[in-house]
């Protein structure tokens, strides 16, 4: 948290140099207040959220959702999204994260109208195993969760845009099971298709919902993205 506050102080100093002096001071004051409110929470000490500043536009990509329909960057526009990278044969990290994301959506449902609740997008990076079972897998967690996969090149395009990483491992001798190393962060994408924050594990429903709430609210007040 102190690092984030330091970063804010730096951006304050940079903005002092700019011409829009007063506007910048006002903006920074509000942003600092917002961040210190976050820092004062009981959970905040443990919460790992990294604000992406400036917001990073995601590249174009052509993937398919769990029903085989095209899914591109356009499907991320005009609504908030939470993208999580994983694979369907992932027994530990992915199921619990998907369940917690549903918890986050439920929390946000108490604070926002449905149009502002982020859609959950599960980016499945192991199409060889994921494609056939993706619909079954996602339906099991929540009917509204979206699962996307497709050509490796297109997956890699989006993975790069998310500053993420994955590597498909070789099976161990005598086993047909292989692991996939992957970034475990959850990316928050704004309605312009830009990444604005990354949440890092361990994931706790309440603080994540609280942070998303503040980011969406600050966006509504003309702050942030």
């Amino acid at each position: 948290m102190t690092l984030v506050i330091k970063a804010v102080m730096l951006s304050v100093l940079q903005r002092f140099k700019s011409l829009n002096f007063l506007a910048a001071v006002f903006k920074c004051l509000l942003l600092t207040t917002f961040l210190s409110t976050m820092a004062s929470g009981a959970y905040a000490r443990q919460q790992a959220v990294e604000l992406v500043e400036p917001a990073k536009a995601l590249p174009d990509f052509e993937l398919q959702n769990q029903r085989g329909e095209a899914f591109s960057r356009d499907d991320l526009l005009n609504q908030w999204s939470l993208i999580f990278l994983g694979f369907t044969t992932c027994p530990d990290v992915c199921p619990v994260t998907l369940m917690k994301l549903e918890g986050v959506r439920a929390e946000l449902g108490l604070r926002f109208t449905p149009d502002k609740i982020p859609q959950v997008v599960f980016l499945a990076v192991d199409p060889a195993r994921d494609r056939a079972v993706l619909a079954d897998y996602l339906a099991h967690f929540h009917p509204s969760h979206i699962g996307i996969t497709g050509e490796v090149g297109q997956i890699d395009q989006l993975v790069k845009g998310l500053d993420a990483f994955y590597r498909i491992q070789k099976p161990k001798p005598g086993s047909d099971y292989y692991d996939v190393q992957h970034t475990a962060a959850i990316a928050l994408i704004n309605p312009k298709g830009e990444m604005v924050a990354k949440f890092k594990p361990p994931f706790h429903v309440q603080p994540i919902a609280q942070t998303i709430h503040q980011i969406i609210r600050s966006g509504m007040q003309g702050l942030g993205q």
């Binding site: 009981a42 959970y43 000490r45 443990q46 369907t88 044969t89 027994p91 530990d92 990290v93 199921p95 619990v96 369940m99 917690k100 918890g103 056939a132 079972v133 079954d136 897998y137 339906a139 099991h140 990483f165 491992q169 161990k172 099971y177 692991d179 190393q181 992957h182 970034t183 475990a184 962060a185 890092k200 594990p201 361990p202 706790h204 429903v205």
Partner: protein, 201 residues
Amino acid sequence: MNNMFITLKAFSIMALMCFAGFVTAKTPLCDIQKGVDSKQAQANHQSQINGVQIKRAWQPAMPHSVPVNAGYLSIVNNGNKKITLSSIHSEQFASVEFHRTRHENGIASMERVTALTVEAGETLNLEPQGLHLMMFRPRTALKDGDQYSVVLNTDQGENHCFVMTVGRCDQCNIVESEHDHFDHHHKHQHHQHNAHASSKE
């Protein structure tokens, strides 16, 4: 004569009921594990052996199309000796292993752990995104609320049978609430470190 018919009828009804009972009776949990004496397993399930207790054993409900499931539990060692756990099995799965999810530079990866040790007086938590059971190829589809037995064998020759419950994330919340306080968090980390685990590549 009439009496005989009535007796025969009663016998056949009783026999039918017995047969029906035999067919429909569910095998009691923690009673049929391979290599485990059923009486011993039953006793183990109800009491603790040498102060070792298995708590909060659960797994998230997964679609049957997924060939690997993760399982979570807490192993409480209230005894006065260190225990080493090196084998685990369940009739519900083709095989069960101990695995650990590692987070390095934000990247999650999994590694197999051959044995777990729990020091006397310590609790080892197997929980999401850390140490967990890796259960391969479920024999039947499992749904929310289902239960099955698992047997954990110690190198000291004890067999701990416990009941695993299929659930959602209610149990993650218990762990989550324990993380609310920094002290607990550290305590928990300490416990994790007590799990001496050797990796197998």
